[in-house]
Symmetry: C4
Subunit: 166 residues, 4 copies
């Protein structure tokens, strides 16, 4: 049995974005909760700056049955950004390295989690345009994603060896 929906989404992105080595997509608790709100992420933390003007909301969910068309539509909506919030669905991130794609995914999920908590508890303060844009250049770069993602893989490799699976 093949996960055709996954194939449709990933292949459409690789077709339209030759710079993307890896795409990550999953229905995490915080990601899907945020994606049901029909809006993009607010820029309220240094970490969220990595996605400042660098992610989209894909708001045309048509269900898993139309996977091929859905994949193409998602890729088109993504454009040249690093991430997409798939409304009523979940998160999608891309990277020029596997480390970056996975780190953006983990990071975007944490941004969703912290904004959900903050919005439920009070009124947030947004980072202004210039600071967000400058910070995006540093923490949001491909190199930044690789640098932040590498430790995740180092730990994984050590754990897997420790458990005797490698």
């Amino acid at each position: 049995m093949l996960n055709r929906a996954a194939f449709a989404i990933h292949s459409a992105i690789h077709n339209s974005r030759p710079d993307v080595t890896c795409a990550a997509h999953s229905h995490t608790i915080y990601g899907r909760a945020f994606c049901s709100l029909g809006k993009t992420l607010d820029c309220i933390t240094q970490d969220a700056c990595a996605f400042y003007n660098d992610h989209v909301l894909y708001d045309n969910f048509q269900g898993v049955v139309l996977a091929e068309e859905e994949g193409i539509a998602i890729a088109k909506s993504l454009g040249d950004k690093k991430a997409a919030l798939l409304q009523n669905h979940g998160l999608l991130t891309t990277g020029s390295t596997i480390e970056a794609a996975v780190f953006w995914f983990v990071s975007l999920d944490k941004c969703c989690h912290s904004q959900l908590l903050a919005d439920a508890a009070g009124k947030t303060i947004k980072i202004d345009h210039e600071d967000a844009e400058n910070t995006h250049k540093t923490v949001g770069s491909s190199l930044g994603g690789w640098f932040s993602g590498k430790p995740l893989f180092d730990v994984m490799e050590r754990d897997v060896k420790h458990e005797g699976w490698l």
Copy 2:
């Protein structure tokens, strides 16, 4: 000592639903929180489509002491659906396989968790009827439940072997 309440609920379901091989019921944090709100799940994610027009709210909690009657009433309320939100109590799911029943349980609990977070943080967007119904046919089928639940059991089996319990 026998858990009579559990026996009453499970036996009533197996009596009335010969297609059900396994029922899962527990008082999870997110399940019981959602079940105190007196409403069914909104269809706000692809995953929630598995329960679209396929779960009920049983709103007649009478306490654990009347377990036999309560079990029969729950089974009657469930009808031919795959899941029930037991008001002021917790979640109940069924499946034609053990894998499906357990997966629906885990999935329903996550749907409760993400809707609780989203409703606390803002206003959610609902999936329209046609998309929800089409998606239900795919992700909500018995085969879909088995396919999604199997990896949980594969991991469990590997872990149990690794720990030396099998």
Copy 3:
């Protein structure tokens, strides 16, 4: 170094409640969050029935420095109930067995957690007086506490042996 505040609270309870074999007190995340709201638990789940008319709010926090007086005041406020929400402080539970005291603690913390989530997300439905009282007799008994707490200790014992600490 001695934790004098802990000694003051526990000794005052054992002095005034000869039926109490064990008291449990800690500053859990959900317990202290709920205890900052200045109210008792709503009866919104079967599990919360164990505390129906069987817990108090101690609303006279005077800080850790007056520990001896504070301990006596807490014991007086507790009266013959099984649990206290210590305002601006944390949870306190008692039991005629160690298993019961620990189970009530874990259970009360989960009740706090689920009510916090439900109150943030919507409006809860309360269990009516008669059902709550009847359910309290079953799930809230000393025997019920012991029965529910024992598996926690069985798992702990197995884990500790498995790790080679016993």
Copy 4:
């Protein structure tokens, strides 16, 4: 590759605060969520008293690119307090011992977590000035921080030895 931002923050604090042996800074989920609200912690729990009049809000986030200036500005804002909430960024704590700095960090993160939950669910009750100040003297002392942090390190040491890494 060097984490220049980390170096800038930590070195500025050590320059201006000779009593500080260790500073802890990270972008935890609850810390960054709270720090997006633009306010200091309310004194709603015994544990929060450790930070009563003993932490600041640094509200001049200028992004990661200006790290050196940012570090000096943060140290100036911190003054002689034990902790800072870095708006749109994360938590910062200090200690005269490593144990204290780490314990204050863990504790501050939990204070953020519990206040976020409480504020989302209802209206909190504040501890009055005198009780908060008296409690701060006990639970907020350097000795208190060391005493509370030591068990964390004991457990870490035992785990690391158990895993064979020491």
